[in-house]
């Protein structure tokens, strides 16, 4: 994150809690970049987060009203606040385990109701904070602390899930696509209704290490080669698509 965005940080915050090589620090900067470019008033914003690494992106760092809630219940908390004060610009920032595993039901109901809020889901493919266990977005076959012989189950496609539940704007970007990610977050914030961004972010310490994905830089490079647009995907065969991730507005 660049120094000029530090003005959005709560005074007195010296260090962040991310592990070395975590992509969530990049995401934190991109969210603030989007807010800065839109010139949003932080006093009118409410950041709601749950439990897990990504829940720390807004709390305690962002200098604005922040509600650091129970595990999985972010969207329910945010719904009550928005219902009472519709003037609040509500942004939910949390992880895949928080939003899609324990909080999956609230996620689809928030989308179904089309509650006016922007949800940013940092997807690092595992439970990072508790030491790297399998979650609903872990790829099939991946090694985690609770799947030593490989994950036997398929992962959720979060964007398809949330889109099917009724979200009005859904997009997926990796932290290696900063310009597109900022554009996507801005569009989500400017769109009225339930908007959802799946932010792909590497977790070298808990996920990468066990799956021999290399150093943080190699994981970032890997994301850069894997992420392709929908248009590009249409030119590839089913076999070629297996190793790719489609990003963009979906």
């Amino acid at each position: 994150m660049v120094r000029e965005l530090e003005k959005y940080f709560r005074p007195g915050i010296g260090v962040t809690t991310y592990c070395p090589g975590c992509g969530e620090a990049i995401l934190q900067g991109l969210i603030l970049r989007a807010i800065d470019e839109l010139k949003l008033n932080m006093d009118e914003m409410l950041f709601v987060s749950g439990i897990g690494c990504a829940a720390w992106i807004p709390s305690p760092y962002f200098n604005a009203d922040s509600l650091h809630t129970l595990h999985g219940r972010t969207i329910a908390f945010a719904t009550g606040a928005k219902m009472v004060n519709p003037k609040l610009k509500v942004m939910v920032i949390s992880g895949d385990g928080d939003l899609a595993d324990i909080g999956g039901n609230h996620l689809i109901h928030g989308a179904r109701r089309n509650m006016d809020m922007t949800v940013i889901c940092a997807n690092n493919q595992n439970y990072g904070m508790t030491g790297g266990q399998v979650c609903a977005t872990t790829p099939e076959g991946a090694l985690t602390m609770t799947t030593h012989q490989g994950n036997p189950f398929r992962p959720f496609d979060l964007c398809r899930l949330v889109k099917a539940a009724g979200a009005v704007y859904v997009a997926r970007y990796a932290v290696t696509q900063p310009v597109a990610m900022v554009r996507g977050i801005k569009k989500a914030l400017q769109t009225e209704g339930f908007t959802f961004i799946e932010a792909l972010t590497p977790c070298p310490v808990q996920f990468g290490r066990r799956n021999k994905l290399g150093k943080p830089a190699e994981m970032l490079k890997d994301l850069m080669t894997k992420c392709i647009s929908e248009e590009k995907a249409e030119t590839l065969s089913t076999e070629e698509l297996k190793s790719k991730i489609i990003t963009g507005e979906l």
């Binding site: 409410l46 305690p60 509600l67 009550g80 009472v84």
Partner: protein
């Protein structure tokens, strides 16, 4: 801010309501701004009424996807500035326990009406019980204290719902109205006065929202959008809400203050009724619907010259320990009838020096006056 008298929303006069309807009207009288819930017998009728009435008075109503979402949205609503309420019965009360702990720890005012039915589990969903009393005290993990009220009539469901909002806002704590199926579904006439006394949240711009100088203080409560840049967390925190997750003294101080802010004001909170206790040799300690049967039974036996008195607890938590200690030193025996296996009797035994006889009935029916008469004849 603080206490103020406002006009009643309902025109003053007599009304014929069910207990569930009275809860809804009590919430409206208290200027509840947000209610969320999930349908459950025997509390559903409150939601149904509020879904219509809130539209008329300009408050927000949400039927959420489950009870967890219901109470969590109420916490969000409370911090956005509304008086908030959720309504449920035993199974929903169980689901809400984690969020109750969050509300206690973040000092979020909240009213929760539990129309108790016979448990455990799904139990007998349409029958009465009073088995959630200890759950109201110990249901969420960790040490904490909330406030629990026990109304015995439709009138009291109206009055105590208003009182619950006042206590919640005054002490920044969840307040439970421990209704029972028998009162929730009972229809009775109630009187609505011209004015209602309400307590409105104290605000103090710039003051720390989670700490006070006093060891038992209640801090002022800002809301979202005031520019206070609130930091709210269920982790242990200092007076500004900054996480302090390894500091022994900060944790001790916070957990202790949250208990003391209630316990040190228990005289202000606790309400009770007493009848015929002056010369009583036996005291019946009761609450909720069972107190109706108990008072009837005692009046019958008084007619026969039996020296029996009644203490009806209108507040269950914090517990009326001093009062019960005093009664226990003046009577020979205390009899505690209730629709559970002796949850309040156990508390009475902690404080009363005399013999305490528990009568716990768990058959999904109210404790009949004749049952209490029969039991009391054996004691006197």
């Amino acid at each position: 801010m603080g206490k103020q008298k406002v006009n009643s929303v309902l025109p003053p006069g007599s009304y014929y309501f069910s207990g569930d309807e009275a809860v809804a009207e009590g919430a409206i009288a208290a200027r509840c701004g947000y209610c969320a819930g999930y349908p459950i017998t025997p509390a559903t009728e409150t939601l149904e009424r509020l879904s219509v009435r809130f539209g008329e008075v300009g408050a927000a109503f949400m039927q959420m996807e489950d009870e967890i979402a219901s109470i969590c949205s109420c916490i969000g609503a409370s911090w956005a500035g509304a008086k908030a309420m959720t309504i449920t019965s035993g199974p929903g009360f169980s689901l809400m326990q984690e969020a109750i702990g969050y509300a206690v720890f973040t000092e979020t005012p909240l009213v929760l009406v539990d129309a108790q039915r016979s448990g455990p589990s799904t139990g007998q969903a349409t029958r009465v019980g009073s088995g959630d009393i200890m759950q109201a005290k110990w249901g969420s993990h960790g040490d904490y204290l909330a406030i629990a009220l026990s109304p015995w009539s439709v009138q009291e469901l109206y009055d105590q719902t208003i009182n619950a909002f006042n206590l919640a806002e005054r002490f920044r704590v969840p307040v439970f109205v421990m209704a029972e199926e028998a009162t929730a579904h009972l229809h009775e006439r109630i009187e609505v006065g011209a004015e209602v006394e309400l307590f409105n949240r104290e605000k103090k711009p710039g003051a720390p929202p989670f700490g006070t100088e006093e060891e038992d203080g209640v801090p002022p409560m800002p809301v979202f959008g005031d520019g206070e840049k609130l930091l709210i967390t269920g982790s242990t925190h200092d007076e500004w809400g900054v996480r302090k997750i390894t500091h022994p003294e900060i944790h001790r101080k916070l957990v202790t203050r949250l208990q003391k802010k209630i316990l040190n004001r228990s005289q202000e909170i606790i309400q009770y009724d007493s009848h015929y206790l002056d010369d009583a040799q036996v005291a019946v300690i009761c609450y909720g619907f069972t107190a109706r049967s108990a008072l009837f039974a005692v009046e019958q036996l008084r007619g026969e010259g039996k020296k029996i008195g009644v203490l009806r607890l209108k507040t269950l938590w914090p517990f009326a320990d001093e009062l019960i200690k005093d009664i226990g030193s003046r009577v020979g025996k205390i009899f505690v009838p209730e629709m559970n296996m002796g949850q309040v009797a156990g508390e009475v035994m902690k404080y009363a020096a005399c013999e305490v006889v528990s009568y716990g009935q768990v058959n999904g029916e109210i404790v009949h006056p004749h049952t209490i008469i029969e039991q009391l004849r054996r004691l006197v």
